[in-house]
Symmetry: C2
Subunit: 369 residues, 2 copies
């Protein structure tokens, strides 16, 4: 199978690696008998979702209403919209629910609970509401010991809108070792278990106790009381995950195919036709060594020490180490660039050239809100 017919830059998805990554999470969660609710925000592809979910009607997570609409249309039936709800999005949420979709919404303030409560009363409907718990101080959510937790749950429960609690250990991305990630996974689980116990004491029970991030999903243990685990980037993996030790660079299913379009012999630079428009502006973790991505050869083998060191909109620059010269990379040479952050790189493209041993396919993806 030759990549030579592809226009560059384009996005490659290695199907076998994708399947291996999916299988890895499935096995991990099966070990603990906990439900997987994959996050579809990374690949935003119905084809990929079919492999991630097995059955499209299985539980899934989305980050935008556009994802909710598109995946609902494709057959998803049980969707968690895992971004704090705003009042203006409620009519569309109800519209999806009226199409037979179970859609769970998220909130972390009394104000949100109030407007959802009022909306449901006005529209004579019920929405499934989750309270976001802050397990690591990184983003949204309330702490499990915040008195608001009970107040929010009570107003929701009064109209039978309360479903449970959800947290996301974004802090896992700051961990410096696998042990730290394992500890973060415990912290994540403890935060929602603690919230659930506090609610229990007020006779409010949680049908849903949801945790998730790729590092904590893959390295977590126990999952006691947890009803579901959300992960997204696990399917494709990326250099951030490799840098955290969650995977090896060889596991990364996504790469940007590019060609050498120029040399700067004096500076020992390769100029590529993949700039930040194809790679994204995401520089990954501060601890990562190299700019806009790891350079691999056409077959996908990592070329150690070679990175896209800088990028313009449609130009990438690789500063060669002095053991290599521009003559080693003739103009026209195909290279693959592993992404720092799969979500960001994939978002720069309209679809995936899906490669496997014996065939090529194209899977579209979508963007927008």
């Amino acid at each position: 199978m030759s990549l030579d017919s592809l226009q560059t830059p384009c996005l490659l998805l290695d199907k076998q690696k994708l399947l291996n990554n999916i299988n890895r999470l499935n096995k991990q969660l099966a070990r603990f008998n906990v439900t997987s609710r994959p996050h579809l925000k990374t690949l935003k592809s119905v084809n990929a979702a079919q492999y991630m979910l097995g059955d499209l009607s299985a539980p899934c997570t989305v980050s935008t209403l556009q994802e909710a609409r598109q995946f609902a249309q494709a057959g998803c039936k049980d969707i968690t919209y895992a971004v704090g709800i705003s009042e203006h999005k409620l009519p569309e949420i109800l519209d999806l629910q009226n199409q037979g979709i179970t859609i769970h919404i998220l909130m972390d303030s009394f104000e949100q609970a109030q407007f959802v409560h009022a909306f449901c009363r006005e529209n004579d409907c019920q929405l499934s509401c989750l309270i976001e718990i802050d397990c690591d101080g990184k983003r949204a959510g309330i702490k499990s010991d915040d008195p608001q937790l009970i107040a929010i749950a009570k107003i929701l429960q009064s109209a039978e809108l309360f479903s449970g609690v959800l947290t996301h250990a974004g802090g896992a991305y700051d961990c410096r070792s696998l042990d730290e990630i394992r500890a973060m996974a415990q912290q994540e689980q403890a935060a929602v278990r603690d919230a659930a116990s506090k609610l229990e004491r007020h006779q409010i029970s949680c049908d849903v106790i949801s945790v998730g991030s790729t590092p904590t999903a893959l390295l977590g243990e126990g999952f006691d009381q947890v009803t579901e685990v959300r992960a997204g980037v696990y399917a494709s993996m990326d250099l951030v995950m490799a840098d955290l030790g969650v995977c090896q660079p060889e596991d990364i299913a996504l790469s940007v195919l590019t060609r050498v379009i120029g040399h700067n012999q004096e500076k020992n630079w390769l100029i590529l036709d993949a700039g930040w428009m194809a790679l994204s502006r995401d520089l990954g973790l501060a601890s990562q060594p190299g700019g806009y991505g790891q350079v691999c050869d056409e077959a996908g083998h990592v070329l150690p020490g070679l990175y896209v060191n800088s990028a313009n909109q449609e130009h990438g620059i690789v500063v060669l180490p002095n053991t290599l010269s521009t003559h080693d990379f003739a103009i026209g040479t195909l290279l693959r660039i592993l992404p720092n952050h799969a979500c960001a790189t994939a978002a720069q493209h309209a679809g995936y050239q899906v490669i496997s041993d014996d065939e090529m396919d194209y899977w579209t993806r979508f963007g927008g809100w």
Copy 2:
């Protein structure tokens, strides 16, 4: 005109500011009687191109073949593809030329000149070729005193493929004052004039002597012998341009409309529904103070000191100064975020909500290669 009906996040384009910015460059270049060849890579919108070009058949610049195809289809007739050519893209270039489009291609190596020469012989065609000159050591191109310049021009001229020289002062983005930008503009012009004189001494004349970047186009003087000036981001402007002093924040025509979806009272944070997916991962210049963009109120007035300090995929976090509290920004409040880098932020969206005093419009944009 109310923005309240818009789903957030979305991209706003202030039409009057756009027209003012376009007018500013047009007046500047008219002063020096030099042709404008606007770069369409920032907005990638046919509607915007109509205002930038006046007449779609006027000269324009693109950064991808996708832009070349789309703008050709819309009526553009004279297109410079300003990224070093690769052999694999030549059939499509010829295809465009066969549709009656004048398309200029760019190269900076003998190898490229050779394969273009061979391609033209095989296909019994002529392509208009420009040699890229490196005026600032930032990216691609050869120095004007590089002996390759003559060698490349000679092989091209032997088949009547040579049109001229082109440079881009990307180094203008590193300037720390308007005087440094003015000096960079002189350096940019001098580089191509010098290349043209060297070629002249070999009886090779340049029909095209092309320079351009938004800072050097707007602040340059003279433009002697220069036949055309390319600029792209001038139409929308962005915080990078404001930080360089090339415009004021009030001139920026592009912004991301977002709503407050949460508060962290303890940390005095606002949570917005515009994360890096809506804002891009572009952090602008190192000298810029604030994360993912400048916060403005719904009407577009800058809120001094308020930035999107950090961002997840669909969440932006504004750390409020201690003079403000989360109560000043109720959940649901509309805000606008000025982009660090218009090219990167616009690329995250499928189109523009175009706003003016009395009407709203929607202009689509495209991406891809």
